[in-house]
């Protein structure tokens, strides 16, 4: 289909020589922006999933001489319908949490740190959190229930603003691609005006002439788009390797969050060259049809 004879020698036209490379670059940039968006969305979904159904209860340390409020809090929590489990973090685990900042010289007892309770709830029948908060405050003044919602909401807002920016970038790249094809097509119309006029005068319909331009634009768009997609994939694989888990101080540490795309996200990325080619084809067609309307 793509190798049909061209009445208009568009394939020898210098003005289109760089079009595949320009489209490749645009698809590459759009691919990076899109995959960034998809990765962020996947990460947000993952955080959302892993934090849904978990709560943290923070129990302040007992006043001097007062009884430890932790057993009463645990009894309250475990007796609440919808709570699957309520497990306090051991003092050793709490000490490990603060160790990177304060070192191991001080113990949680010396610092009067609050006790943390890891609460798992039934997502299908969650407890009434407002009522639970009130009862907790009564059982242990100063106890706080953290459902991570604030943190997740802020994270979601951040991710959404990044996504909106990335999609705006993709739209701008699309606009730039359209303008590039418009100018290239106009250059082609000017260069091949004599041939186009002959075709017009021997009775070629506008669609016949436009088809030659659109076929050329589709082929170049597809070629450039595939190069752009290849560069995108190579970049993603490269960044994935660079951010892979590294042994650091005896522990596996990921320098970057996972950049792996979900299976359903790959077709979206793979559709970019096709979208670029179709945009180029339609742009060329409408540019030519518009120009031909000026002929008698």
């Amino acid at each position: 289909m793509l190798r049909r004879r061209l009445d208009i020698p568009l394939n020898r036209d210098g003005s289109v020589r760089f079009l595949p490379w320009i489209i490749a670059l645009m698809v590459y940039l759009a691919g990076l922006a899109l995959s960034g968006t998809l990765v962020l969305q996947a990460a947000l979904d993952h955080w959302n999933r892993s934090l849904t159904g978990t709560l943290t209860v923070q129990v302040p340390p007992a006043e001097a001489g007062a009884p430890d409020p932790l057993p009463a809090v645990l009894a309250l929590l475990r007796g609440t319908p919808g709570v699957v489990s309520a497990e306090p973090l051991t003092r050793a685990a709490t000490a490990k949490l603060i160790e990177p900042w304060l070192g191991s010289a001080l113990t949680p007892e010396e610092l009067a740190l609050p006790r943390l309770v890891d609460l798992r709830i039934d997502p299908a029948a969650p407890p009434d959190l407002a009522a639970l908060r009130t009862r907790l405050a009564a059982a242990a003044p100063g106890a706080a229930l953290d459902d991570h919602r604030l943190w997740l909401d802020r994270l979601a807002a951040l991710v959404m603003s990044i996504e909106a920016t990335a999609l705006a970038i993709v739209a701008l790249i699309g606009g730039a691609a359209v303008l590039t094809v418009v100018f290239t097509t106009r250059a082609g119309l000017a260069v091949h005006h004599a041939v186009i006029e002959v075709l017009h005068l021997i009775g070629a319909r506008d669609g016949y002439i436009a088809a030659q331009f659109q076929r050329q634009a589709l082929e170049l768009g597809l070629r450039g788009g595939l190069v752009g997609l290849l560069l995108t994939v190579l970049t993603l694989v490269g960044i994935g390797h660079a951010g892979a888990a590294t042994a650091l101080f005896g522990e596996d540490v990921r320098l970057l969050p996972s950049l792996r795309l979900a299976l359903w996200q790959w077709p979206l990325l793979a559709a970019l060259p096709l979208a670029a080619a179709v945009i180029a084809m339609l742009t060329a067609r409408f540019t030519v049809l518009r120009a031909l309307k000026r002929m008698p």
């Binding site: 020698p9 006029e197 002959v198 005068l201 021997i202 009775g203 070629a204 008698p296």
Partner: protein
């Protein structure tokens, strides 16, 4: 077939190159279009093959008023018109075969039919061995024959030729004129612009004569008739 009523034409804001052209060419007629250089012969042909629009007056082709014919219907009218351009206007990157095949391809004919018709016609104009030759490798006369073959391949109802014998020898000129006469006998209406008085005299067809953008001969005849 071709009717002009008080047609005037100018390029842009320039002076009128054609003035008050009124004529009615019957279907199946054969006219030579004569006149000195710059008289407006090519402009008159351009109006007939719809490359230009008149600045005033009415043009009717095949019974259709061109001014009121929708643009989408003009290609079908153009396909009924064969044109031999003065400067041939062959497409450089296409072979002689593909140049001649263009009107048939544009009309949507099958490749098998195209091959048969084009090969036969190029053989008839003496270019059987030049099917795959590019225009740049052909002599002026050969290019002109390819241009003529392209104009007649679609068996047009109206054939317009601008100096079609300008670059060929006398023998080929006669041969081409005989081809035109054959087409005329089959019903094609012809208008041939030429400077070649010998041919005009020899073939003795009706003459449209232009002087300074006006059809003088017809007016003289009209005056005689009046």
């Amino acid at each position: 077939m071709v009717r002009f009523e008080n047609v005037g034409m100018r390029y842009g804001a320039g002076p009128e190159v054609l003035r008050d052209i009124t004529m009615d060419l019957a279907a199946g007629s054969f006219h030579f279009l004569t006149g000195p250089s710059g008289a407006g012969k090519t402009s008159l042909l351009k109006l007939m093959y719809l490359a230009e629009r008149p600045s005033r007056g009415l043009i009717s082709l095949f019974g259709r008023d061109i001014a009121t014919t929708p643009r989408r219907e003009l290609p079908a009218i153009r396909r009924k018109i064969g044109v031999v351009f003065q400067d041939f206007r062959l497409i450089d990157h296409l072979s002689a075969f593909d140049n001649v095949a263009l009107p048939l391809r544009v009309a949507g004919l099958g490749e098998e039919q195209i091959h048969e018709h084009v090969t036969e016609l190029l053989r008839w104009v003496g270019l059987a061995d030049k099917l795959n030759a590019r225009p740049a490798t052909l002599s002026g006369g050969q290019q002109q024959r390819v241009a003529i073959a392209r104009a007649v391949i679609g068996r047009p109802s109206l054939l317009l030729a601008d100096e079609p014998t300008g670059n060929v020898d006398d023998e080929m000129a006669l041969r081409l004129l005989r081809l035109f006469e054959e087409m005329n006998k089959l019903g094609t209406t012809l208008v041939i612009a030429t400077h070649n008085e010998a041919l005009v005299t020899r073939f003795g067809h009706a003459r449209l004569h232009l002087e300074n953008g006006e059809l003088t001969q017809l007016r003289a005849r009209e005056r005689q008739a009046g």
